[in-house]
C-alpha cells in the first residue's frame, strides 16, 4: 500500500502549476470576462502542446496512456488559479467517455474522427449529462456528447440548438441545449448507456472535487496575504485569534479533503462506474471545504471582500458553481447514506482499505 504520489507526478504538477500561475492571473481572467467567448485561444493551444488533451487516452489510441491519479494534481492546480477554460472537464470527463465508447466498439463512423480530432487539438467536445441543466462553453464545441434517458448521443454542432444562459460566475459560458435524439446519433443505450452515464457522473464529480480543493487553496492563500498586510489597531488583523481561527478551520477542511479526493481518483481509475461512494465522499468533502473557504475568506477581507474590485470573487463564485455541478451536496450525501444504512453494508475497521475496499465499492456500485 502506498498513498503517495511519485516524484514524477509531483514534478509534473509543479511544472503545470507554475505555468498556470504565470499565464492565468486575476487580470487575465478578468480580460476573458470582457469577451463573448470567454476563452483564451492562445492559452488553449499551450495546454494542447503540453499534451494534456491526450494524457488519459490509452497509448493504443495515440494518447499518453496515463491514469486518473496522474492527472488529479493537475486538476487541483487548475482550480487553484480558477482557470475559466473547461480543461479539466475535457481531459477527465468528456475525452474518457469518448475513449470508453470507442473501446467498447460502440458509436458510429464519427467516433474515431472525433477522438482523432481531440488528440490533434482540432476538435472540442462538450458534454451534456442529465444531472447538469446546462453545458458550459457549449458555443465553442464542435461536437456534443449528450445523455437522454439511458441513451448517449454524439451530435455535431450543426444538429444542436443552443440557448445562452448567464451564470453568476462571469468565467462561465452556460447554454441549455436541445437536439433531435434520433437513432443515427445514438452511440449507447440501455444498460450500457446507463453504465457509461454513471462513470461520467463519477468522473465529472471527481473533476469538480479536485478543482474545489484547488479553489479553496487559492482563496486561503489570498486571505493569509490580505490579513498579514491589512493593519487595524496598530497590528496585522491576522494576529487576532478571531481571524486566525476562521482560516485555520478552512485549512483543516482543505487538507482533509485532499486524500479523500486522491482516494476517489484511485478508485475511478480502477473502476469508474463502481466508484459512487468514494466519489460522493470526495465531492461532498471538497464542496464543504470550498464553501467554507468562500464564506470565511470573504469575511476576513472585510468590506473589501464585498467589492467587484476584489479578486476573491473570481474564486468564490467558481466554488459556488462547481459545488452544485455534477450533483449538489444533497445528491452526494444521499448516495452516501443510502449505501451506509443498507443491511449488507460492509462496515468495520477492516473495510477502509485493502481486502474490503474493492468489495464494498462494488456493493456501493
Amino acid at each position: 500500500m502506498n498513498f503517495t504520489f511519485t516524484q514524477d507526478q509531483l514534478d509534473f504538477q509543479d511544472a503545470i502549476a507554475s505555468m498556470l500561475r504565470s499565464e492565468v492571473t486575476a487580470d487575465t481572467v478578468r480580460s476573458r470576462w470582457a469577451t463573448t467567448a470567454g476563452v483564451d485561444e492562445r492559452f488553449l493551444s499551450q495546454v494542447h502542446e503540453l499534451g494534456l488533451n491526450s494524457m488519459l487516452v490509452p497509448e493504443a489510441l495515440g494518447g499518453l496512456g496515463l491514469g486518473v491519479t496522474d492527472f488529479i494534481l493537475l486538476a487541483e492546480a487548475c482550480g487553484e488559479v480558477a482557470l475559466p477554460e473547461p480543461v479539466v472537464e475535457s481531459v477527465m470527463v468528456s475525452t474518457p467517455l469518448l475513449v470508453d465508447i470507442l473501446d467498447q466498439g460502440l458509436g458510429n463512423a464519427d467516433i474515431q474522427k472525433v477522438v482523432d480530432g481531440v488528440l490533434a487539438g482540432d476538435l472540442r467536445v462538450s458534454l451534456g449529462h442529465a444531472i447538469n441543466p446546462c453545458i458550459n462553453y457549449a458555443d465553442s464545441a464542435d461536437w456534443f456528447l449528450v445523455s437522454e434517458g439511458d441513451g448517449i448521443y454524439l451530435v455535431p454542432k450543426e444538429a444542436i440548438s443552443l440557448k445562452a444562459r448567464k451564470s453568476v460566475d462571469p468565467s462561465r459560458r452556460l447554454f441549455s441545449v436541445s437536439f433531435d435524439p434520433r437513432d443515427h446519433v445514438r452511440v449507447a443505450d440501455g444498460d450500457v448507456g446507463a453504465r457509461l452515464q454513471r462513470s461520467t457522473l463519477n468522473r465529472g464529480a471527481l473533476a469538480n472535487a479536485a478543482q474545489l480543493v484547488g479553489l479553496s487553496r487559492g482563496m486561503l492563500d489570498q486571505s493569509v496575504r490580505y490579513t498579514t498586510d491589512r493593519e487595524q489597531f496598530g497590528r496585522a488583523i491576522g494576529a487576532n485569534q478571531a481571524v486566525k481561527h476562521l482560516l485555520a478551520d478552512v485549512a483543516v477542511q482543505v487538507e482533509y479533503a485532499k486524500p479523500v479526493v486522491y482516494r476517489a481518483a484511485y478508485t475511478v481509475g480502477v473502476s469508474p462506474n463502481r466508484a459512487d461512494f468514494a466519489v460522493s465522499h470526495a465531492k461532498s468533502a471538497a464542496a464543504r471545504a470550498a464553501l467554507m473557504a468562500s464564506r470565511h475568506c470573504t469575511q476576513v477581507h472585510g468590506a473589501m471582500g464585498y467589492t467587484w474590485e476584489c479578486d476573491l470573487q473570481i474564486w468564490t463564485k467558481r466554488a459556488w458553481a462547481l459545488a452544485r455541478e455534477w450533483g449538489d451536496e444533497g445528491f452526494h450525501n444521499n448516495r452516501i447514506h443510502e449505501w451506509l444504512l443498507r443491511k449488507d453494508a460492509l462496515l468495520g475497521p477492516e473495510f477502509t482499505f485493502g481486502r474490503g475496499s474493492i468489495t464494498d465499492l462494488e456493493k456501493a456500485g
Partner: protein
Amino acid sequence: MELTFTAADELFRQEIAQWLNENLRDEFAEVRHRGGPGDEHRFVDERKAWERRLAEGRWTCIGWPEAWGGRGASIEQQVIYHEEYARAGGPGRMGHIGDTLTGPTLLAFGSEDQKARYLPDIRSGQAFWSQGYSEPGAGSDLAAIRTRADFDDSSRQWKITGQKVWTSLAHESDFVFVLARVDRDSVGHRGLGFFLVALDQPGVTIRPINQLTGTAEFNEVYFDEAVCAADDIVGAPGDGWKVAMGLLGFERGVSTLGQQMLFQTELDEIIRLAKLNGASRDPEIRQRIAEAHIGLRTMRYNSMRTLSGGEDGSLSREAMIYKLYWSSWHRNLGKLAMDVLGPDAELLEEGPYELTKLQSLFLFTRADTIYGGTNQIQRNLIAERALGMPKEPRGQGK
C-alpha cells in the same frame, strides 16, 4: 499510489487474526471491548495480564526494531495489526504509553543504557508508564512549567519537586516521564529536562481527580524531592523541550490508527442501535450517521497519507490538523449517540452514578476538545505554523 495490501501483508493479517482468536478468550473474554476512552479505569489488572499475554506472542511494540524485541513492522503491518485488534474486540491497551510514546522516544533520544534498562520491561508488559507534562499553572502554556529538578551532588541524583496534573492512569502505573526545569532562572522552552521517574517512592504522592463522569482516570501527582538517578535524564539538561516535542510527534503518528479503530467500533454500535430503535428512519439522524462515517474515513485516509509519506512523526501540517479534526468529530459522535438514544439518553445504567457506555462516550468526548491542546490552541498553531499568519503578541497580560 497503490491502495491494496500485498499477499505478504494478508498473511500477516491471518497470523494476528488467528492469534487473537486463540488468545482473546477464556480468562480474557470479559475484557473484550473494554478499557477504551472513558472506560480506561476498568479491568486494570486483567488488562495488565493481557499485556503479558500479548508479549508472549510478540504482539506488543510491533513497530519497534527487532533488536529491542519488536517486529520492525511496516506501516502497512501496523495498520493491519490495529484493524484486526479492533475487530477482535481487543481491550484498551494498558501498555500503550510505553509502547507508542516512551519506547519511540527512548529509541530516538535515549542512551543505550536507558534503552537496555527500560525497553525490555515495556515490551514484556511488566512496566506501565504515564505522562507528566501539564501542571496547575501550565496547561495550554506548557512551557510555563515550574516543577524543578535539582542535581544533588552528594547523592549523585536528581531531586524533583513540584506538581503535575491530569496524569492519566498514574495510579496504575510504575513510571512517569516528567518535564522539569533544570535551570531555576530559566523561562519558557529553555532550561528544561526530560526525566524517567519511578512512581513507587516516598517522594511521590498520587491523588485521583474525580471527573464529571463520576470516575477517576486521571490524577494529580505531587513530587517532593522525588529521586531520579543521574542517568535517568533523556538527552542533556536543557534538551527537555526538544525531547518532549519529539514525543508529541509520536503521539500523533501510528498510534492514531488504533484510536480510529475504537472510533469505528463506537460508530458501528451507534448505527446498530439506530437501526434497532428506528432512529435510522429519521432523515436528520441518517444524515448525521453518514457524516460521522465519512468523517472517520477522512481521518483514516489522512493518517494513511501522512504515514505512507514517510513522516517521522514530526509536526507536519497534517499532524497539527489531526487533533482538531478528530476531537471535533468525536464530540459530534457523542452528541449523535445521545440523539439516537432519545429519551433513554438521560437514564443511568444503575445507581449511584453508573453511566451507560454511550453516556460515558458523550461525556468523555467533552474532554477530547481540551486535553492534549485545546481546539483553540490547535487553531492558533495551524494559523501561525502551517499558514504562516502573523504571531499574536504574547506575555503582555502582566
